[in-house]
């Protein structure tokens, strides 16, 4: 195993930000870490990178305890939300910054730098200054600056958050390919479901400073461990703390007929919004009885405020393996 955190605890004053976090990372793997804002994702990365001291627990790299090591001694490099290129250094000087600190010989350094510029598809930008680059180009240079260190572990903290949506989707495929080609193991933090699925070989869900579920993205999507994970990562209707209906089991109906059939459940709802996504009509339905909303595809157009029925077979109701209450007590 490449990286392992063992019961990692982080407190700010007396507020627990990370509560006994255990995550694993294998060689060459990309782990997506998804969670809502303020769930402790960035703090976890900073602890692993050595930028924040931990309040308890251990961090192991290849079974070796690095908890006491400073950031600059760890074989871990972190990349941030913003590119944070040094504004007074050229693109090349930014890229080889870490090698220079390490004392690499100048020739080797420049060659590695040029090679990196090729890889990030910015050849000829050697002498440019960061302000001359677009946001996406800057973030690519920041990635090069991290990759050139050949870190055993790369930590990416929502690196595309500052980019506009279109650029985001093209750059993330590109980054994934680059990481795979370089065979770098990475933890990729995001709060975007799609991004987490695309980027990660494996997925971990973090909420309120705890890892609630780990697994392949599709597994987590289809079998959320509890209500919180379902609400964050799956599409469907959460019935209560124990039960959930995936969106593909629900049909939208405007008559009462189906309801009376055996083995079906139905909830009344009101259309709150409608739009088209990827060629499908979508509606968002409020379900007053549950106090929840759900987005789902519709076979025809509905107008806002129209009353509808959400119908699903009883045997498609999914029961969470974990109970949220038990989690909180732990």
């Amino acid at each position: 195993m490449l990286l392992q955190t063992v019961n990692l605890i982080k407190k700010f004053d007396h507020r627990v930000v990370l509560g006994r976090v255990n995550i694993n990372l294998w060689d060459g793997e990309i782990l997506s870490l998804i969670g809502p804002s303020g769930s402790g994702k960035t703090t976890l990365l900073k602890c692993i990178a050595g930028l924040e001291p931990v309040s308890g627990g251990n961090i192991l790299v290849r079974e070796k305890d690095v908890t006491g090591q400073k950031a600059n001694q760890r074989p871990v490099v972190m990349m941030f939300q913003q590119p944070l290129l040094f504004p007074h250094l050229t693109v090349m000087e930014n890229i080889i910054y870490g090698l220079k600190i390490r004392g690499t010989e100048k020739k080797t350094m420049m060659a590695a730098g040029e090679e990196m510029l090729q890889k990030i598809e910015l050849p000829g930008y050697t002498r440019r200054y960061p302000f001359e680059l677009s946001g996406g180009q800057q973030q690519r240079v920041a990635l090069a600056r991290a990759l050139i260190m050949k870190p055993q572990i790369l930590l990416l903290d929502e690196p595309f958050a500052s980019l506009d949506p279109e650029l985001r989707s093209s750059i993330r495929n590109w980054v994934r390919r680059l990481l795979k080609r370089e065979e770098v193991a990475a933890i990729f933090v995001t709060h975007d479901r799609e991004e987490a699925m695309i980027m990660g070989d494996r997925l971990a869900v973090m909420i309120r400073g705890r890892i609630l579920q780990e697994g392949s993205p599709f597994e987590v999507y289809k079998k959320p461990a509890n209500r919180d994970v379902a609400e964050l990562f799956s599409d469907g209707l959460v019935l209560d703390d124990r039960r959930f209906v995936p969106v593909d089991a629900i049909t939208v109906s405007d008559s009462e007929q189906q309801v009376n059939k055996d083995g079906f459940l139905a909830f009344k709802g009101r259309v709150a919004a409608n739009w088209i996504k990827a060629g499908h009509h979508m509606i968002r339905v409020e379900v007053p009885e549950l106090g929840r909303e759900v987005s789902l595809p519709a076979s025809k157009t509905y107008s806002v405020a129209e009353e509808v029925l959400l119908v699903f077979p009883r045997d498609r109701v999914y029961i969470f393996p974990q109970n949220n209450l038990e989690m909180e007590m732990e």
Partner: protein, 291 residues
């Protein structure tokens, strides 16, 4: 910054009073000094730079000039080094403002009053000399090194440090407060230690302010009269004291010499200023400001 039309008169009205004041006094003043330093009586074929030649031949001029340069350069550099170190440590370790206020105390008193503190503490019969005697390092006052009214201007330098380190703090603390500390994480994750953090994150942000501070300090110390007059020696004499005495204490015949000397020191300060400003005119620092 408001993008008003260029022909709008309002900004001119705002800066005009101060501009008139400075033109009337400073520009006119320095112009007159330069004019009076030249020998414009065109009889008997004497050189137009007669007073400069006379100045160069004056005993004490060269040693005084060198002393002035030494004292100003040393006091400026040391103030900046110690001041920045203190600002950094204040920002990182001693955030309580009571300590900052204590360090600013010296700004409250005039330079010449600070000169008296130097006498009290650093003279041969001063408090530090007494302290050394108490720990039996010296037995009599004459064994204590001459730090006040000494030939090398050590007392003057120390007193300027005491007065100017707080000034450097005043100028550099806001830079620390505005600094983007996320860059520190970048340096550390890329393998840098404290020194690299200073070099890559703090120094580029500090440099423009330090250049400005350095120029102000050097110009001030190079031409200030009060401290060198009180804590200096008769020979070598710092040039500001020399000029003051030629201008004010002696006969009027020495005035052109004083004017020539003042012209020389103005030119030297301007040269130092231009050289230092050149340091931050490079592309990288324009980038910093454009950020």
């Amino acid at each position: 910054m408001r993008s008003l039309g260029l022909n709008n008169h309002k900004p001119y009205l705002l800066v005009l009073p101060a501009l008139i004041f400075f033109s009337l006094f400073v520009l006119y003043g320095i112009g007159t000094v330069f004019a009076e330093s030249l020998n414009l009586s065109l009889n008997t074929g004497s050189s137009i730079v007669k007073y400069y030649i006379e100045l160069a031949e004056k005993p004490g001029f060269w040693s005084g000039l060198i002393l002035s340069l030494q004292v100003s350069a040393a006091a400026t550099l040391l103030s900046i080094i110690i001041g920045v170190y203190l600002a950094r440590q204040f920002y990182r370790r001693v955030p309580d403002s009571i300590w900052h206020a204590l360090a600013w105390l010296p700004m409250l008193i005039p330079h010449f009053a600070a000169g008296y503190l130097a006498v009290l503490l650093l003279s041969q019969s001063g408090w530090f000399s007494g302290l050394l005697a108490q720990v039996t390092l010296i037995q009599e006052t004459s064994r204590f090194p001459v730090l006040v009214n000494d030939k090398n201007g050590l007392g003057i330098i120390v007193t300027y440090l005491w007065k100017e380190i707080p000034f450097v703090l005043l100028m550099s603390m806001p830079v620390y407060r505005r600094m983007d500390w996320r860059y520190e994480d970048v340096v550390r994750t890329l393998g840098g230690g404290q020194w690299q953090v200073f070099k890559t994150v703090e120094w580029p942000a500090l440099l423009p302010v330090l250049v400005e501070t350095g120029i102000i300090l050097f110009a001030f110390i190079f031409s200030a009269f009060e401290l060198p007059y009180l804590l200096g020696v008769t020979y070598p004499k710092m040039i500001s004291v020399m000029a003051y005495q030629w201008f004010y204490e002696g006969s009027w015949s020495n005035r052109p010499l004083a004017m020539a000397l003042m012209t020389v020191s103005t030119v030297m300060v301007l040269i130092v200023a231009v050289v230092l400003l050149g340091l931050i005119q490079g592309k990288r620092y324009r980038m910093m400001r454009g950020r």
